[in-house]
Each structure stands twice: as structure tokens, then as C-alpha cells.
């Protein structure tokens, strides 16, 4: 168990997220497992699909995460409604990203609603965070 915790710490230290966000992802992981017994860890490829696919959003119009964040997470995006510049999502390009659980949970809730017109599941949230970390 100790080794597992250590391995988890080590693997997440290679990823770009603060300890509190890593902790949050561990909680998401537990929830995902409880909701789906075949869950075997978050997956950046599934996260990419969530992030780049188009859905009928809250406004009843086609919408994707990339509508505002663009497909290159290292670049700044633009709010599609107001035109306001959005700082890059990639933690490598923008070290402020994935440092606060409060910010992460706020935006995941809001943006799943905007794009999917529903909240994301624990697995979906973890997948999308994993994708963001690796970009």
C-alpha cells in the first residue's frame, strides 16, 4: 500500500498539477471506480475526445470545449460569446493552471454544463484533467 501511494505520488509529480489537485483527482478516481467496477484509471485519449468533440450545449447550439480553448492548449483561447481572451489551459504554458481545486471544480461544472448541458461524471472529469495535464 505504501508503495502504491509512493508510485502514485511519483507518477503525479511528473504531471503538471499541484498536490491539492492531485488529491482531488484521487478522489475522482475512487468515485469513478465506485460508479463503474471496470474503471482502470483515467485516460488522456478519452479526455481528448471529451474535449474536442462537438455537442449540443446549454444554448441548444453546437459547442465544444475547443470553441473557446482552441485545439492547441498551449495557446490562449477566446470566450466565444464575449471575445475575452482566455489564458492557455496547458499547465506547461500557464503554471497557474491545475493549482487550485476550487478553480478546477468551478470550471469543470460550468463548462460541462455549457458544452454538454449536464455535469460531467467523475471519470469524464478525471479523463479531461489527464488530457489537459499532458498538453
Amino acid at each position: 500500500m505504501k508503495y502504491l501511494a509512493f508510485a502514485l505520488l511519483f507518477s503525479t509529480s511528473l504531471m503538471a498539477a499541484s498536490p491539492e489537485v492531485v488529491q482531488y483527482m484521487n478522489e475522482l478516481s475512487k468515485t469513478a471506480k465506485a460508479e463503474n467496477s471496470s474503471f482502470s484509471g483515467f485516460d488522456a485519449a478519452r479526455g481528448k475526445e471529451i474535449f474536442t468533440s462537438t455537442h449540443t450545449g446549454k444554448q441548444g447550439k453546437p459547442m465544444a470545449c475547443t470553441s473557446c480553448h482552441t485545439t492547441n492548449l498551449a495557446n490562449a483561447g477566446k470566450n466565444s460569446l464575449t471575445g475575452k481572451v482566455i489564458d492557455p489551459l496547458s499547465p506547461r504554458a500557464n503554471p497557474q493552471r491545475l493549482t487550485s481545486t476550487k478553480e478546477v471544480t468551478k470550471w469543470l461544472k460550468r463548462n460541462f454544463m455549457d458544452v454538454y448541458a449536464r455535469e460531467g461524471s467523475a471519470q469524464e472529469k478525471g479523463d479531461v484533467l489527464t488530457y489537459i495535464m499532458k498538453n
Partner: protein, 178 residues
């Protein structure tokens, strides 16, 4: 001496003495008068104002609360889950802090006379706003660099500091407004 002057200017700026509607033309509304000798903000007030700017300014220009009365802000804060088509919900503590901030800084004037009892949630639907912007051709507002009247700072170069003087206006791709 220069230092003292600089410091007092800084203090005045920090005091948040907003000069709303301080136009070049003589104007009916003089809300700025009551803040002419505003007290400097306490650290608490500063952090509240910073929270407002951070949270609301994340997606759009952080409009000075003085532009709308309390009833408008209350309506906006009650409907953040569907805020102009997006989910803008806040955590309960921040929601409360921002709601109180808006209520205490809201316009003391009824800015909605002539709206048939409707409660405005867009500043741009208030009669005063419409009057002030009545001569602006639509194409200047709808162009990509402005998008809509919601984007105050696109043309009002000092909007972020609460100053909306006509001589500070620079309309993208058109220039000054004279």
C-alpha cells in the same frame, strides 16, 4: 513633495472614486460627487473588489456595480446558472460576498424609468445607456474587435478604472469619437 502628491493620487484611485458618466458634455447624473472625498478602501474591501473583478472579469468586462440598481444585481445573482446562456455559478461563499458587494455598490438611482417596470439585467438596455450611445453606428459595435455593447473596454480606454469620458473613447478601426 512629488511623492506625497503621487501617494494621495494613489489613495484616491484606491478609494475607487469612480467617475461614472463624467462626460465632457454637461450631464444630469453626478454620482461621482459622493465619492469625491471617498475614504480609502479597507483591506477587506480591497479583497472583495478583487474577488469581484477576478470572478466576473474572467469572462467579461467587470462592470462597475454603480451602473445598475440593487434589484438588477439581485436578479442577475439569482440566475447565475443560466447567465446570458452560460453557467456562471460560484461557490456559496463567493456568491454571498459578491452579492453583498454588488448590493452595497449598486446605483442609488432608479436607472430603469421608462422600462415599463421591467428589471434590466443588461446595462445596455437602460435608457441612460441607450441615450449615451444613440449616435454610434451599429457597424462600429458589431465589428469583430468590439462584438457588442457589453464590451465597454473595447472603446472606453479607461473603463477598467471607472472612467468613461468621451475624450478617452477610441473605437477600434475608427478612432476617437468627436
Amino acid at each position: 513633495m512629488t511623492k506625497i502628491v503621487n501617494l494621495s493620487i494613489a489613495a484616491l484611485l484606491l478609494a475607487g472614486g469612480v467617475y461614472l458618466y463624467a462626460d465632457d458634455d454637461e450631464h444630469e447624473e453626478h454620482e461621482h460627487k459622493r465619492s469625491a472625498v471617498a475614504k480609502p478602501m479597507t483591506p477587506q474591501e480591497k479583497s472583495t473588489a478583487a474577488l469581484y473583478t477576478k470572478e466576473c472579469g474572467a469572462c467579461h468586462f467587470a462592470y462597475q456595480p454603480e451602473f445598475l440598481p440593487k434589484s438588477s444585481w439581485d436578479k442577475t445573482m439569482k440566475t447565475l446558472d443560466s447567465h446570458f446562456g452560460t453557467d456562471a455559478t460560484l461557490d456559496p461563499q463567493d456568491h454571498k460576498t459578491i452579492q453583498n458587494y454588488l448590493a452595497s455598490h449598486a446605483s442609488r438611482y432608479d436607472r430603469m424609468t421608462g422600462m415599463g417596470g421591467a428589471i434590466a439585467i443588461r446595462i445596455s438596455e437602460t435608457p441612460n445607456f441607450k441615450h449615451e450611445h444613440r449616435e454610434i453606428p451599429k457597424k462600429m459595435v458589431t465589428q469583430a474587435d468590439v462584438k457588442s455593447f457589453a464590451n465597454c473596454a473595447a472603446c472606453h480606454t479607461k473603463a477598467a478604472s471607472g472612467s468613461y469620458r468621451e475624450r478617452e473613447v477610441r473605437i477600434p478601426n475608427y478612432g476617437s469619437w468627436e
